[in-house]
Subunit: 196 residues, 2 copies
DNA sequence: CAGATAACTTACCAAATGGTAAGTCTATGT
DNA sequence: ACATAGACTTACCATTTGGTAAGTTATCTG
C-alpha cells in the first residue's frame, strides 16, 4: 500500500510550510524526514510550487472541516461566536501548522493564494451576514461588520499562534495556558460584542 | 560620505526581511537593489545572521520611538490605549516592514529573537501594570491582564498587517481603509474594555 | 510468460547562495 | 612622498537548491 506516500508527503509539507515557512523548507530535508528521496516527492508533485498548491488545498479542507461544524451550527447570538472560537483554538492546539499555513499564505499572497482566498472569502461572507443579522436583531453592538470580523479573526489567530509573544508576557505556551487564553479571548469578545 | 552605506543596507534589509522574510531574501538581491556588491554587505556585517541581528536592533529602536511617545503619555484610562493604537496604525501605514519584522521574529524565534523579546517584554510589562491599575480603579473591565493584552496586541497587529485577509473581506488595503480599520479597532477595544 | 504501468532510486546538473581571499582606489596623517 | 586604513570590487568556492534523465523493482494484465 505505497499509495499512502502521497499523503505522507502532504502531511509533512503542511507541517513544514505551516510552521517554518515555504522558502525555509527544502525538498531534500522533507524527503529525508520521510525516509525517501527528493525525487519521490517530485514524482507525486511535479514541482515545489505544485506541492505548495496541494498543501494549501489540504489546509483549506482541514480548516473547513474543523470550523465547518461550528460555522453551520444552529446556535444564535454570541453562542455561535463562542463555538467558532472554541473550534479555532482546538485546531490551534491539535494542528497548529494548519493555521500557520493559512497565515503564511494570507501574508505572502502569491499565485497560490487564490484558492485559499476564495475559500476564506466564502466563510467570511457567511460570517458577515450572520453578524449583520445579529446587529439588526439588537443582540450585537453596532459596529462595521467586516472590520469587526477582521479584529476578531486577528485576535483569535494571534492568540492561538503567537507563542513567542505569550512568552514575552511570561506565559508558557502549553496546553493549560492555551485553555486559559481561550477562556479569556471568549470573555474579551463577549464584552466587545454583546449589546448593553 | 560613504559611511551612509551601512545605514542604506540596514534600511533595505529591514524592508526585505520584514516584508518578504529572512530566507526569502538573498544578499545578492539586496546588493543589486542597492547598486553595490554582496561583498560590500559582508564588509559591514560579517554574515547574514549578523545583518539580521543589526536589523532587529534597528526595528526595536523604530518601534520604541514610534510607540514610546504614546506609551509614556500621561493619559489615563482608555485614552492611553487609543493613543497606542493610533501610534501602531501610524507605524503600520508609514513603515509596515517594522511590524512585519517584529512578527516574523516573534514567530520564528531563534537566537536573534532574544533582544526583541526582552524589548517587548519591557513594553508589555509596563502595559500589564497600567491595565491592572485601570482595572483596580474600576475604569477597565476585570479580565486577565496578560491575556487581554495578548488579544489586544493580536487584534491591532493583525488588522494593521493582514492585507490579504482584508482583501478576502472585500476591503482594499489602502490608506482610507486603514483609517477606517483604525477607527473600528478603537471602537471595538473601547467596547471590550470600558467597564459598564 | 511478455509487457506495460506505477512507484520509486541513482546519477546528474545548472543556478543560486552564503562566504573567503586578494586586489583596487581614495583619503588622510606623517 | 609614502605608508596606512577604510570602503569597497573582482575572483573564486563549496554547498544547497529545485529539477531532469535514466534506470530499477514490483505488481498487474493480456
Amino acid at each position: 500500500m505505497p499509495a499512502q506516500t502521497r499523503e505522507r508527503i502532504l502531511d509533512t509539507s503542511l507541517a513544514a510550510f505551516g510552521l517554518r515557512g515555504y522558502d525555509s523548507t527544502s525538498l531534500d530535508e522533507m524527503a529525508s524526514d520521510l525516509g525517501i528521496t527528493k525525487q519521490a516527492i517530485l514524482y507525486h508533485f511535479s514541482s515545489k510550487e505544485h506541492l505548495l498548491n496541494a498543501t494549501i488545498e489540504l489546509a483549506v479542507k482541514e480548516l473547513a472541516s474543523a470550523l465547518g461544524g461550528a460555522s453551520k451550527s444552529q446556535a444564535r447570538g454570541f453562542q455561535r461566536i463562542e463555538d467558532l472560537v472554541r473550534a479555532t483554538f482546538s485546531l490551534a492546539a491539535r494542528r497548529p501548522e494548519v493555521l500557520g499555513l493559512v497565515r503564511l499564505v494570507s501574508r505572502q499572497g502569491g499565485a497560490a493564494s487564490g484558492e485559499l482566498a476564495s475559500a476564506m472569502s466564502g466563510m467570511l461572507g457567511e460570517a458577515v451576514r450572520f453578524v449583520e443579522a445579529e446587529m439588526i436583531a439588537g443582540r450585537f453592538r453596532r459596529l462595521e461588520p467586516r472590520m469587526l470580523l477582521l479584529a476578531v479573526y486577528s485576535a483569535v489567530i494571534g492568540v492561538a499562534t503567537e507563542p513567542e509573544v505569550m512568552r514575552a508576557l511570561g506565559l508558557e505556551p502549553d496546553l493549560r495556558s492555551l485553555v486559559k487564553a481561550r477562556r479569556e479571548t471568549i470573555e474579551f469578545l463577549r464584552a466587545a460584542l454583546i449589546a448593553d
